[in-house]
């Protein structure tokens, strides 16, 4: 019982380089394996191949083969394939085709021809397992990023595959739910013998569950298998991998707090009939970094969305003393945004245009853009659509666009999720440079408490629709 890759050679473009240039590996169902490695090295691609989604849907398999328990998944029909290996995708949006959570689960069960009387108990059990029974009748569109990931997991649990392929399953989930789910996955593995192959940049949640860690580099697997119980931290750090419990080294951006730049006065927001924000009052000063933490679904993205002008809100938000709602369009450009899903902020057709669009009309735009892209190692992708980059690369590009123009406030929704250690540091450095050099105020949300501790001057927690300060030690 294993997933085997034999001499695998895979490329996305006919005349392009191979993303996976000849990979041979075997993952046993008796282990929970975590696959890690720097952003863009081909982890997601490998999972897609194991799930049989590629090369049918994209790319070219030049040579080699993939087998799961001795069967080639790409040759199976979908109903059988999903019983063999179920995959959870990295991007939590657009994984659903029905309207409500329940209907989506029904859709899954219908596909594998479950008898109707069995469906209700089975979908309830799956929801229970993921701790989201209360979301059963919600529409999928109204769920937060983390909630969607849990629903996706519930779908997989309902389908009961022999293998679970998980691509960054906890990227948008708060630590508590993450460790809960990790535990449950361990349970699934032990009781039902489900094989698990997961891709993750952070090993924290896996320490108690996983049995092996493998590292990927430029489409190849490094030969060593590590045990999560006794990891060689130094070795990991060298490879650019986030060390469980390890600090990033304190890089607090700040210097001196300057004048107040953004002020929220009793901000309220509701989605439909549920009150999400119940009066948020806070002030943000230039030259300082603020972290906003809170459970998945507590309303962080909603708060940022309100400031971005996406949602209607009550109360006031003042930028330099002027009401945000009344500002002219030009001045709104003084707030820089990185959205939770990087795809939400792309405006250009290609990677290069993406950077150029924020440099519009400036002298030497072309050179500046080249410099920026080279510094984040995306210059070679300049002609490609931003949507074709790996998740981590998309995020880097999103942050890089902020470098191109100066803003007074930077609002970043989980700027470092799905990033390896080096990229995390690079991104936070970039943001901090803006804080230091341009005296911007940086407000970022994160599920990574260590990140908040190491980089923020002040940490705020969003809970029950209100924002309150927490001390560094209280976190």
């Amino acid at each position: 019982m294993s997933i085997r890759f034999e001499q695998l050679q895979f490329s996305y473009f006919k005349d392009g380089h191979d993303v996976i240039p000849g990979l041979t590996a075997e993952f046993h169902a008796s282990n929970i394996t975590v696959l890690t490695g720097v952003s863009g090295c081909g982890k997601s691609t490998l999972l897609y191949l194991a799930a049989g989604a590629y090369p049918h849907n994209a790319g070219i398999l030049r040579s080699g083969k993939v087998t799961v328990d001795g069967i080639a998944p790409a040759e199976l029909l979908p109903p059988e394939r999903c019983r063999l290996a179920g995959m959870m995708f990295q991007n939590p949006e657009l994984q659903f085709c029905m309207d409500t959570v329940k209907n989506e689960l029904v859709f899954c069960l219908e596909n594998i021809r479950t008898t109707p009387s069995e469906m209700e108990p089975r979908l309830n059990a799956a929801l229970q397992f993921c701790g989201i029974a209360h979301l059963k009748n919600r529409t999928l569109l109204s769920l937060s990023g983390g909630e969607r990931q849990k629903v996706m997991l519930a779908c997989l649990v309902a389908l009961q595959p022999k293998w679970l392929l998980l691509d960054e399953p906890f990227a948008n989930i708060d630590d508590r739910s993450a460790s809960e789910i990790a535990e449950k996955l361990g349970q699934l593995h032990q009781e039902k013998g489900v094989g698990i192959l997961a891709v993750d940049h952070r090993l924290d949640n896996w320490v108690n569950v996983a049995s092996t860690v493998r590292i990927m580099e430029k489409g190849r697997l490094l030969p060593e298998t590590l045990s999560p119980k006794n990891l060689d931290f130094h070795h990991l750090e060298e490879r650019g991998i986030i060390v469980p419990g390890g600090s990033y080294g304190v890089h607090r951006c700040s210097g001196i707090a300057q004048n107040k730049v953004l002020e929220l006065r009793g901000l309220t927001l509701r989605h439909g009939t549920t009150q999400i924000l119940r009066g948020i009052t806070a002030s943000f000063y230039r030259g300082r970094a603020y972290a906003i933490v809170g459970q998945s679904g507590c309303g962080k993205s909603s708060l940022f969305g309100a400031l971005l002008g996406m949602y209607r809100y009550g109360g006031q938000a003042l930028l330099d003393g002027k009401d945000l709602k009344k500002l002219r369009r030009k001045e709104l450009g003084h707030i820089g945004f990185v959205t939770q899903n990087p795809q939400d902020q792309f405006v250009g057709g290609t990677v290069l245009e993406e950077i150029l669009s924020s440099l519009h009309g400036k002298a030497g735009a072309a050179e500046t853009a080249e410099k920026i892209l080279k510094s984040i190692h995306l210059w070679r992708y300049r002609e490609l659509s931003p949507y074709l980059l790996s998740q981590g690369q998309q995020r880097k590009l999103g942050v890089a666009t902020l470098m191109a123009y100066d803003c007074r406030v930077l609002i970043c929704d989980e700027p470092t999720y799905a990033q390896d250690r080096n990229s995390t540091l690079a991104i936070m450095d970039t943001l901090c440079r803006q804080v230091k050099d341009h005296h911007a105020a940086l407000i970022f949300s994160t599920h990574d408490r260590q990140l908040a501790l190491d980089f923020a001057d002040e940490i705020w927690e969003l809970e029950g629709g209100r924002l309150h300060a927490v001390t560094q030690s209280g976190l």
């Binding site: 109903p79 394939r81 179920g86 450009g333 945004f337 959205t339 939400d344």
Partner: protein, 233 residues
């Protein structure tokens, strides 16, 4: 209306639409409009949604009226106008055109607002034998729709956040939308297939959509009863 089988409802209402098309009679069209309004109210459609949707309809109807009114080709006057003494031929002409817009819209909205889309897809598959791949493909695309409104706002906000001003329907706003829709179709297809959807093999049904006697009655009334009534009156 809500309890009718969606496929039957669709066919029945289509039949009525064609009937109206065959008869250029404003009174008939207007009564069809009024009846569909009443049917909507009886089926507890939210009043606000109705008003919102009918606003452009009324505008279009008004536009049609004036088109017909101003550009009447004098000789094609229906005879009955004189019998009913409704003003000049131009007014009648305009009325014919605009009442028709109202009736079509009324019937269409009656269908749209009283039908659950998941039910509709299921019934398409079961009663009309539409291949599952089209039925669910349509459903997935329809599910994208609210996304698109959101996406449109997001893209606008993204431009605004960079201090770039774009006009509401400008190409630079539509282009990201187009790219996204292409990406979406690929990602959605992969996601649906990974959940075991095939489109060719059979699937089980959670709650099969049934055809009841009332559905047949509705169909009979729409396809046979009404034409007969109109014909003889």
């Amino acid at each position: 209306m809500r309890s009718l089988n969606p496929a039957f409802k669709l066919i029945g209402l289509l039949a009525v639409t064609f009937l109206l098309a065959a008869r250029h009679d404003p009174l008939l069209s207007l009564s069809a409009f009024v009846i569909s309004l009443i049917a909507m109210l009886v089926s507890r459609v939210r009043l606000k949604a109705m008003l919102l949707l009918f606003l452009p309809v009324f505008l279009a109807a008004a536009g049609m009226f004036f088109t017909g009114y101003r550009f009447a080709a004098g000789n094609s006057m229906p005879v009955r106008a004189e019998i009913l003494h409704i003003g000049s031929s131009a007014v009648w002409n305009g009325l014919t055109l605009s009442s028709r817009v109202l009736a079509y819209a009324g019937l269409g909205l009656l269908f749209a607002l009283t039908t659950d889309r998941i039910e509709l897809i299921r019934s398409f598959q079961k009663q009309l034998h539409v291949p599952a791949i089209f039925a669910y493909g349509l459903l997935a695309a329809w599910g994208i729709f609210p996304h698109m409104a959101l996406e449109y706002r997001r893209t606008r906000a993204a431009f605004r956040a960079r201090g770039i001003h774009v006009f509401p329907m400008s190409p630079s706003l539509l282009n990201p939308l187009l790219v996204k829709s292409v990406r979406w179709s690929e990602e959605l297809a992969i996601a649906m297939e990974s959940k075991g959807f095939d489109g060719r093999t059979t699937r089980s049904e959670f709650a099969p959509v049934l055809v009841r006697t009332s559905d047949w009655v509705f169909l009979a009334v729409c396809c046979l009863g009404l034409p007969a009534a109109v014909f003889f009156l």
